[in-house]
């Protein structure tokens, strides 16, 4: 009894319940369709690679999960969101492919045609991500511009710069090595591994150093933190820098999936998914305390909803409506008044039980 109470009181309890609820819908659907109830959860090794809906969720949700890492830190430290990540993804992808293919070239298909080695392109994309992050960070941390306004600049400009870099074309880099980052490493989809490494590295840094605490403290009260001896500006700047880097990594994954830089469509509206992931993870968008694990679960919840829509065969025109309803329900479940009501009810029950046992 005591133990059960503890679980329900944990911060991650509700996000986990929500993702399980979404997945559970598929069991009902499969049973009603006469399939095995575990149809949705079946993972097979076909054609030498792991396949199944769960793998799809983990695979396709990788970009948002990677973005959610940076977004969580940004939200926590600066009580604002970085709305430029989707555009920055596109810019990094374009920059990478432009470096590899050469300016103005629309298609290369083997390493002999590369203008520069692939490594240069990949590093270029990461550096571009860092530069964009630094730009946003500088505006927010040192010039004290509202995060949404500061990142609005790159939100509109980054995609356009990417298009200019690509000479308004879709640049194809049809090379297997480049395709590896969005394809398969052995039997496992590479994006899953990349996301896992990013999450592991970030949580390790947050655990082993005091950075996590610093970020939270700056988010809760910037001034008090500064008086207490923290360099608030530097910490906020660092968070945006990490967010930019995450966008760069996500950009590489997204463009590697299609072995091309589709500047108009890569990362389109993904900033909103990343923000939603942070919110679904039970984090306050007002900054301060954060849970990285929550955001990651939130990211996969979004993909779980999308994949469920595919499984249910919901037509594309009405899918956004269903999605919206699911999101509203999840957010409502996690709203403070609802949480408080659950808590009160649990307390009342406990009291009743106490009375009964007496």
């Amino acid at each position: 009894m005591n133990k059960g109470k503890k679980i329900t009181q944990q911060q991650l309890f509700l996000p986990v319940v929500c993702v399980l609820l979404v997945l559970a819908v598929n069991i009902f659907y499969d049973v009603s369709q006469g399939n095995e109830f575990y149809n949705f959860f079946k993972i097979t090794l076909t054609n030498d690679v792991l396949q199944g809906r769960l793998i799809n969720i983990l695979n396709r949700g990788s970009e948002v999960a990677i973005l959610a890492i940076g977004m969580t830190l940004v939200v926590s430290a600066s009580a604002g969101t970085d709305i430029s990540v989707g555009s920055v993804m596109s810019l990094c992808a374009s920059f990478c492919c432009m470096l590899v293919a050469g300016y103005g070239v629309s298609s290369v298909s083997s390493p002999d045609e590369f203008a520069m080695p692939l490594v240069v392109g990949l590093l270029g994309a990461l550096v571009m991500g860092l530069v964009c992050g630094a730009f946003n960070g500088a505006l927010v941390a040192y010039l004290n511009i509202q995060p949404m306004v500061a990142t609005l600049i790159l939100w509109s400009a980054a995609r356009a710069i990417g298009l200019l870099l690509c000479n308004n074309l879709i640049v194809y880099v049809r090379d297997d090595t480049f395709g590896l980052f969005g394809g398969y490493l052995g039997p496992i989809p590479t994006p899953i591994l990349i996301a896992a490494v990013c999450v592991a590295a970030t949580s390790l840094v947050l655990k082993k150093t005091a950075l996590g605490m610093y970020v939270q403290s700056v988010g809760i009260n910037k001034r008090a933190s500064r008086i207490a001896g923290l360099n608030s500006q530097k910490i906020i700047f660092l968070c945006y820098l990490i967010c930019g880097l995450c966008a760069g990594i996500a950009g590489i994954v997204a463009s590697s999936r299609i072995t091309s830089a589709d500047s108009n469509n890569i990362g389109l509206n993904m900033e909103l998914d990343a923000i939603l992931a942070v919110a679904l993870g039970g984090n306050s968008l007002g900054g301060g305390k954060f849970s990285l694990a929550g955001s990651i679960i939130g990211a996969y919840t979004i993909q779980a909803i999308t994949t469920t829509m595919y499984n249910l065969g919901v037509s594309t025109e009405v899918a956004p409506v269903f999605k919206a309803v699911v999101v509203i329900v999840i957010v409502a479940i996690q709203a403070p008044p609802v949480r408080a009501w659950f808590k009160k009810r649990a307390a009342a029950k406990a009291v009743q039980k106490g009375v009964a046992s007496v």
Binding site: T46, N47, V49, Q51, G52, R53, N56, R60, S106, S107, V131, A134, F135, A138, L139, Y142, L143, I153, L154, S156, A157, A160, I161, L163, L164, N168, L169, I170, Y172, G183, Y184, A254, R257, I258, S260, D262, N264, N265, I266, T307, Y310, N311, G313, S315, T316, E317
Partner: protein, 371 residues
Amino acid sequence: MKKLFSLLLASALALSLGACGGSTTSESTGSAATSEAATSEAATSEAAESTPAEGEASGDLITVGFAQVGHESDWRTASTKSAQDIFSEANGYNLLFNDADNDSAAQLEAVRGFIQQGVDYIIIDPIVATGWDTVLTECEDAGIPVIVIDRTIDDSDKYVSWVGSNFKDEGLACGEWLKAYADAKGITEINALVIEGSTGASATIGRTEGFKEVADKYGWNILDSQSGDFTEAGGQEVMESFCQSYAGQFNVVICQNDNEAFGAMTAMDTAGVTYGVDGDVIIVSFDANKPALQEVMEGNLNANFECNPMAAPFVEEIIQQLEAGETPEKEIYMEESWFVAEDIAGESITVNGVEQPLVVVTQEVLDARPY
């Protein structure tokens, strides 16, 4: 130091933002428009033949204003290039080109700008279908004929002609070809999956309607139809899901544009489904861009139905008719080709009573394609 750095960064990006947002109106000459010399040369000489000594006859250049949608795809770029090649100074034209970057308000302003500049003709590829009556009335008052290309204008008929594609015919052609192909191959049962384009786009609606009409006629089974948003990533994700939902149940995949087809092919590779000429699944695409025709030639795509971006030659013809005092037709559908990988389905198909040849893609066909 850091502050200085951040300021520098800020100003640099602000500048580049300004550069992007700024008006892209530019006077384009024949030489400036060339990016592939051979292609434009071919197009220019073709156009020159159709308008013999046009420049000498009228003495001075005909000024044409072109309000383009933007530059969002290879198709759009081809459309722009077609106009720049045809309306060159060598052909007796002076082209004022405006790229509205998908901003409909900016496009309206661009058209007003053309009126003020006193151009002879205005070409519009309207970003949105409505809200045009006022500005078209202004054009009429100024005595400037307007020619609409590609997309349509619904709330005004104050334009001379519309030139574009018949998307429904493309869908019908796809269906009729599939019928002939399946008969030739001895396939009796068709179980099709459709990867649609962006929801609500006229190309999506037309192609879906056309194919569905044929499918209903022959009693084919359309298992599922989902939107891939005309993107490679979208096509990949939808096909990945299809491969799991309908494993082993489908033998036809219809992709409503080339990018979606690329994505679908990757997804089928991953799932171990074979496609194309030697595969289990017949895969068909629309648009017929060069990279996709390459796939048709290699037998990875069974067929590809063109959506012609080269409206400029047709527009030029209209302008010539107007110059000669004739009245052009109100609606002009562009000629489009149907490309196939094998010639076993016969040499032509009949759509809406019009017989059109099936073009088997060879290296020569590919080399002759301008985009």
